[in-house]
Symmetry: C2
Subunit: 145 residues, 2 copies
DNA sequence: TAGTAAATGCAATCGTGTTGCATTAGTGTT
DNA sequence: AACACTAATGCAACACGATTGCATTTACTA
């Protein structure tokens, strides 16, 4: 299950990153921390009708800059966001784990427990980051066939 | 370098997949086979002004269905396409290699020579495909700093 | 060469991403 | 508690890739 926190902890989180404590930001945080899958902006919009989509867009952007969440693309190429596990700082992410895209429920899962094996790139290529994607069926969809 | 072919071989390729031999399709094939990086639809449009965008869109789609090319997303989430190395068939791709996104020139490289190490997924997850992404500098951009 | 299905072109729409600017609201200070 | 200042929000507008419907044209086949 995801790492559930309460409102006070979210306020502390915002304060730590020198972000003003607004209702929209707290609601986005509580939604993202409650889920065990990544969240797209359309996901947020479908729930928070009263918040402008540009506001949500900017909240996601600033959270990513601050190292609170990280971006991962789903099978359609749309951005999804998930809370960073640990060790992520402003403009410095360490989310090199496996991202599982469920082809049935479209859920995007961060499998933090799986670290990536070392990769030897061909001569000349210089990598700054890796991401491993897998697609298939998540546990829930797998059971339902 | 990429696998260059001539027009007759492209015609054979189309015939093999029961696709009509049209000028647009042959031109798309020759462009994609001549490059060593993946090609986006905007790439094609910038060269083939006389072909309608929707036609290009449908050509890319049918080529992917037939297992001639495979789709890979760049850092912006836009679809790029690259010719399949081998073993890909209709609705059945085997392009489990590393995809390198150059942050400078935006090129997307298929590093076929790098096969992926075996991955053990957590209980319940059933994967049908893997893709490893790396971002950084390609050889050319690396030299130019 | 005529008939048929496939492929194309065009117009239109959708969805996500992005910017500018005026207004509002959070925060530290008086 | 009121003030001032800056950050955050809402709204309008735009960018651009993705996607569909439909009429027309083209490639193949009989
Ligand atoms: Mn992740
Ligand atoms: Mn590839
Ligand atoms: Zn699922
Ligand atoms: Zn490059």
């Amino acid at each position: 299950m995801a790492q559930v926190k309460n409102t006070y902890q979210f306020e502390d989180l915002l304060e730590k990153h020198q972000l003003k404590k607004t209702g929209a930001r707290l609601r986005v945080l509580s939604m993202m921390y409650a889920k065990n899958t990544a969240t797209s902006q359309p996901d947020l919009e479908s729930v928070m009708h009263d918040i402008d989509r540009v506001t949500l867009y900017r909240i996601l952007n600033v959270f990513e800059e601050k190292g609170i969440i990280h971006k991962v693309f789903d099978l359609n190429g749309t951005a999804n966001y998930a809370v960073c596990s640990s060790g992520c700082h402003e403009h410095h992410h360490h989310d090199e784990h496996l991202h599982f895209n469920c082809t049935a429920c479209k859920g995007v899962f961060c499998l933090n427990e799986l670290s990536l094996p070392a990769i030897n790139l061909p001569e000349g290529f210089q990598a700054s980051g890796f991401t491993l994607y897998a697609s298939g069926l998540c546990p829930k969809c797998n059971k339902m066939q």
